[in-house]
Symmetry: C2
Subunit: 362 residues, 2 copies
């Protein structure tokens, strides 16, 4: 919550010190329910992306709320989630390092994974990993319809990959993975329809057609043929989501509690949270996060362990020793800095959640 | 080393996958010796800042090479280093969170620490922590001579803090901590001399006068009265140090091995290392790191797990499946992303070093 609760700040600093990464479980639960309802209302399955929280407990809460399965971005994340008992996992990227190190095969031996590819090299590696595992891999083809991120850029390329998958007994064609630009759903429909027609000619069908992204909740019912949606950030939200109109400050479940540790002159202040806590990722916004207690104080620069405040527009300036709460611009990378999240409910600390899938590079 | 060794790349990906954070121990040892020699030649003690590597083993190598002690930026880092047997530790920041959580007192009970302050609130908290510990704390006064980071901005403020320390039986005045701008050593000398004269009037003397920063090695003998220097980045170096003229690419001991996982069109490529591996910290440089195999390929943007390449100036373009090595702009924040460093010597992997002090927020 965004209400200032002095006794909660005192409890956080006395039990954990500062800086401290805190999540409000009431807000988390509300956000989980809202995402599920958005998918339910659109008639698509919910497959939350766990890259945002990297916590098995929170993933299990998403499953309990009705999610079909989860999305991971790393094999190491999938390992952690599989250990927590989650069995329906898409890993939404070309996995070359995990394939060549044998870890993909090891996990595929334990449970059937769904992996993604946008090129033949990935398919070759997947085929080897599946052979090692003794179990065919389900493969989705990643398609780029304007983001200029990963993904094949034409239906013809998608169909060429589908043919390779079809010809390989160790690979099963499982569907298509899209991450459409927010304003790019019409062209995604055209791309999708052309691929589906081509697949039909090949005798293949897409069991899964996945769309993604929290900002794309506004479009969730707009792709005819889509079967599921994967969104990550919406479990916590952040200033980027507020800026995108997808959340209010009250919907931001993650806050960094930080102490004002220094004041240099009348216009300057220093927090004990810097780029090693909040990260240098601005998400395209101005400054490095919003201080709830001092919205006109601007975090204008970071050292590794310090956040530098410009207080020139701040009538009520913070004092050394004050504890303030910062909502980061981009929560996914901020959570990725910490080994644990302190969970609160209302005015009380209730538990500590390990960010168990953090640091899983592969 | 920067020579391309295909069998080392294969060994890294087959044993660890990609991305993988690798350090070359031959280069590390050379860098440690060079820093020690620079301090020895200037007649000041060497107190390396371990924030760069966060590894007890590397800290012990620095001690074995002749370091007087170490510098930490976090109480949590000092805990890890104390557990490794290092006893002479300066924590170079205002420790409010660690004081109020009781962790400063707990460590001070085990070994006498040196802490820093630039304001009276920190001194009050230190006095309480020292009382809890049953042992007086050594305190350095942090002085700002132009960086606009932490530190008192005038000699008068420094002396006011010295008086508070003098009056408190649980605090010992230990000296002064400077981080002069590279071109700001003359004004630092003036500041220093004025404080020393005032301290003399108070009957106090500065046992330690510490300067800091790898780029400041060029100035290391320029502050009359300085007793020691703390530098962090020089153990690994990075593109910022190359840009500052403090290192060559051959002196950069840390590299991220990463796979080319996708190629979108002729001018684009994607690495499996993004902002969750290399961080969004540009260090003021263009792009997000240098690819040794393709110096004209520009990492122009990150997603969380992807680095996006502009290959338009690249004659010899990388292919999907290639493993390339990236030297980051800012190594301190890149090391802070990973739980372990794979250590190589020449053409062989020799060990895995835990980044044991990573994630110690407090």
């Amino acid at each position: 919550m965004i209400e200032d609760v002095p006794e909660l700040k005192t409890a956080v600093i006395e039990n954990f010190g500062t800086p401290c990464a805190v999540i409000d479980l009431d807000v988390v639960e509300r956000n989980i329910e809202k995402a599920q309802a958005r998918c339910d209302n659109a008639g698509v399955a919910n497959r939350p992306h766990i890259k945002t929280h990297k916590s098995p407990k929170l993933a299990l809460m998403q499953m309990a709320a009705g999610a079909q399965g989860i999305t991971c971005q790393k094999l190491g994340e999938a390992e952690v989630m599989a250990n927590a008992g989650i069995t329906d996992i898409i890993i939404a990227t070309n996995l070359l390092g995990a394939s060549r190190s044998g870890r993909l095969a090891a996990l595929q031996r334990r449970l059937p994974l769904k992996v993604c590819a946008d090129n033949p090299v990935s398919l070759t590696e997947y085929s080897k990993a599946a052979t090692q595992a003794g179990r065919a891999l389900d493969v989705l083809i990643e398609c780029d319809t304007g983001q200029q991120r990963a993904g094949v850029e034409t239906p013809a390329e998608a169909l060429a990959l589908a043919e390779i998958i079809k010809a390989d007994p160790m690979l099963n064609f499982a569907g298509l993975l899209f991450y459409p630009p927010v304003d790019g759903w019409p062209q995604t429909q055209i791309f999708h329809d052309e691929v589906i027609a081509g697949l039909d000619d090949l005798g293949l069908s897409a069991t899964i057609v996945s769309t993604g992204g929290t900002p794309n909740f506004v479009n969730i019912d707009k792709l005819e043929g889509s079967t599921e949606h994967r969104a990550g950030t919406c479990i916590f939200n952040d200033l980027m989501m507020v800026e995108a109109g997808m959340a209010t400050l009250e919907d931001c479940a993650f806050q960094v509690y930080t102490s004002v540790v220094s004041r240099g002159g009348t216009e300057r202040g220093i927090l004990d949270a810097g780029s090693k806590t909040l990260t240098a990722d601005t998400g395209g916004l101005d400054g490095y996060g919003r201080i709830l207690e001092h919205p006109t104080a601007r975090i204008h620069k970071f050292a590794e362990e310090h956040g530098f405040l410009d207080l020139s527009k701040c009538n009520n300036k913070p004092a050394v020793g004050d504890i303030v709460r910062v909502i980061p611009n981009h929560v996914c990378v901020a959570v990725n800095m910490v080994d644990q999240l302190v969970a609160v409910r209302g005015r009380e600390i209730v538990e500590v959640l390990p960010v168990a899938a953090r640091g899983k590079l592969v």
